[in-house]
Amino acid sequence: MAGSRSRNDVSHADVGFDRDFAGIHDLFTRFGYQGGVHRIEEESESKMTFQSRCIALAVGLATSLASTGCPAENGAGGPASADALEGKVQIDGSSTVYPITEAVAEEFRAPQPKIALSIGISGTGGGFKKFVLGETDINDASRTIKDSEAEKCRAAGIEFIEIPVAYDGLSVVVNKDADWLDTITVAELNAIWKPESTVTKWSDVRDGWPDVELKLYGPGVDSGTFDYFTEAINGKSQRCRSDFTQSEDDNVLVQGVAGDRYALGFFGFAYYAENKDKIKLLKVDGGTGTGVAPSEKTINDGTYAPLSRPLFIYVSKKAADRPEVVAFVDFYLANAAELSADVGYVALPEKAYELAKTRFEKRITGSVFAHVEAGRDLLEVLGAGLAN
């Protein structure tokens, strides 16, 4: 996209905010405030009319925004290093991955103040649609690329490098007062969530559980979270019963489960971690006979299976020719471990970042995760991908 417009995006930043302010002043005068700004300066000590006071407030807001703190963003905060780059990196995609990418972008401002970064949240699928058109350089993804999307990329001549950046542990939760269970098996979850499920009461799932209707809560069907859960539990992405309460906002699911003693729901680990006092986390038994609760440790070392999911960024190979994109991805991989933990996700094993870095340096395109069953060891998959 950047190439299609013949302007230098970064030079504006050096001009500072005079133009910004001028634009607003311009607007005021066009609306009939002849010389409003001058009048404020002249009259500031004498009595101001209510009218000019209001203009002063509005203009003051604009100027304070424009003048304060701008050196930091324009690079005057630190001496620009010799390898300071200019340019533009366009990122879009999953709102689940957004907090990590935003945290990386925040730290990236210090070493590379002149690279203009923008990050959208069109969703994993919506982001890939733009990625295919070459409108974005990087796509955040909370699931692997679908075959149909990969096919469109091929047709459009867009090659991509798949890079895992962090883990999320999908958490299965119940109400605080649900004292009849601590552990649930994957088979039981499948019985509850499969499309042809006949489960309506807790007692239908396991003998001894209450003979009361079970209320289900889950993320919207467009989310990567839903895709991953259905794939891990029901064997195929999007295969799921439809009579459950959906919300795109996981906070709504937290509220729902917290307010209903017979509720069961699932969502990203960060939403449990922030609401530990309101809801109860279930251990999940993936077939080993012992339940494992998601935690930083069990998600990181892979014992919380199959509901640990990797989060990805997909980098366009063509964009990876540009030094500003390379600088950002390198910075991402170097800092993802610490920053993902900061925003509520779990770091990958250290080795995974090294393998991912090698993968990016060698510009190995295509997806190695797309056809891997949910919950398989990440290092193994990455290693195998490099060996090929």
Binding site: G16, D20, P99, E102, I119
Partner: protein, 309 residues
Amino acid sequence: MSEVALVEHRADPPRVPDAAWTGEPSGNLLRRHLRAAIFHRLCQGATFVGVAFLAVLLVQVVIEGWSFLDLDLLTSLPSRKADKMGIKASVVGTLWVISFTALFSVPIGIAAAVYLEEYARKGRLSTIIQVNISNLAGVPSIVYGILGLVVFVRALQMGHSILAGAFTLSLLILPVIIIASREAIRAVPSSVRLAAFALGATRWQTVRSHVLPAALPGILTGVILAVSRAIGEAAPLIILGVPIYHSMIPSAPTDDFTVLPLQIYEMAKRPQAEFHQVAAAAIVVLLTVLLLMNATAILIRHRWERRVI
């Protein structure tokens, strides 16, 4: 005078005895006045429902966002830490995009209204245009987002620039401005126009010196409503692909940008409760910007009202 008297008395007993006056008001009369009193209270209640909800909402938002409402919020860029979170980029982006939206939509909207009211012949064509504009005012904003994506972002190669956003929002609010302006122009008595014509004024002179100044208060009310709608829109901008995070403060109309409603939406979805509080603080800022802009328009309206009438 009689209207005033009726309003003054409302549910009081009648002063003027009816035909069957026996010293006591008749049952029929009492019933009618009771109904009038009930209607009065119902309307009053309806008014307070709106005001009360607004007050509760405002108080709740201010209380929730209070601890994050400071200058740092206004002067920082986004951060992963709630206490360092800033909305500077999106406030500046909002001011830019809303200024340009007003710049495009207000002159075009008023000119269209003047044409339809003062110049266009009444006929089938003007009826068709009128019906279309009324329908456009009811089209969901997301549809304008799709239109903007296809026309401005892709076909005209504007990218996610302030101009693309402003053009899209202008289309969104144009129907509202046209409809309000037409109503205001129509409310100007035709005697004003006829007097001007009788003195030899041209249509342009009549419109410029008499019709528009008289209609301006009504037009500005429409503009306030329309721009207030545009400033809170997130859906069409998401469709355009406007990013939530942008590391550079926009400094030209061709720059990329982000706006407050998008950032509020993203923060409200975060798991951390502190971000919900920052979102509340950002809502207060958004409302303040909105009120400042509306106050400006109201001040202009006041000035013109005094000058004309």
